[in-house]
């Protein structure tokens, strides 16, 4: 009987050798969707200086500086500036001024200075420079005093 049990056990063990373990496996699926996203962080505001002929007040002039904004995006957005509507001028300035906002970008996206909307299709981070220029025509000149204007930089 003992011999029979030993032989039976050994036979069963041999029969089980080489058989794959029947463990079940399942895949766990992860999904993620990122919609177009944009972050604008204003680093510095701009400074305008007047030209020698007193007909241009601009961040491009000597001593002036652009405003800088960091842009971080997933892509699928567009960048633009609005026409300037809110300005403060000294009381001595009674003539009209044409304000022209522009921007350029360096970094993941190179945008040559423009005033038009730019589509950004790829992700990345950029440093956007925002410029503003005010010009007067004819014999009009900028006056002594404080000027202030607001440029709206939009990402949508």
């Amino acid at each position: 009987m003992k011999l029979f049990r030993t032989a039976f056990g050994a036979t069963l063990l041999v029969a089980c050798l080489g058989q794959p373990a029947s463990a079940a496996t399942q895949n766990v699926i992860f999904n993620g969707t990122i919609t177009p996203t944009c972050t604008l962080v204003i680093a510095t505001n701009g400074t305008m200086t007047v030209s020698p002929d007193l007909q241009t007040l601009s961040s491009h002039n000597s001593g002036g500086s652009a405003g800088t904004v960091t842009l971080t995006t997933t892509g699928g957005v567009s960048l633009s500036v609005d026409p300037v509507t809110a300005t403060t001028v000294p009381s001595a300035d009674t003539t009209s001024t044409t304000w022209t906002p522009t921007y350029s970008s360096a970094g993941a996206h190179s945008i040559v200075e423009t005033g038009s909307a730019t589509a950004i299709s790829t992700p990345g981070a950029d440093l956007v420079s925002v410029h503003l220029a005010g010009t007067k025509g004819g014999s009009n000149r900028f006056a002594n005093g404080n000027y202030q204007a607001t440029v709206t930089l939009r990402c949508e």
Binding site: T37, T39, T47, V69, V130, A149, T152, L153, C155, E156
Partner: protein
Amino acid sequence: MTPFRTLATALAVGLIPAAAAAQSMSPMRGEVNSFTDVFAVRVFPANPYDQKIKIEIHVYDQDFQPVDARISPAAFQLGAQASRPVLVVVPFGGAAERKVRICTESIPFPNQQTQIRAQICGKFFGHRKS
């Protein structure tokens, strides 16, 4: 809030992003189905700065004309690196569908010669179901 508006708000829940930290506003795209004369969108403006800023929410149509939407809250202070939900309820105005822009605006550094206003606008499309 009426049951219908509650339903419209519930439909907007599908627009809630998975994470809104350090974004100026999310989501920036969305479509909403509504069975009422309004549709609702919940957006999450965020303050990516290390200082408190004032944020205003505005709603515009496709031509950037203001839309008479109900915004709760329309203006508020937001702490550094913080985000909060804002509920925007937009009327269809008799139309079957309406496209609007919901914009987050902030002016963190006042009293400079050339101020820059950062504006993040999302585009949202409301469909009125009958």
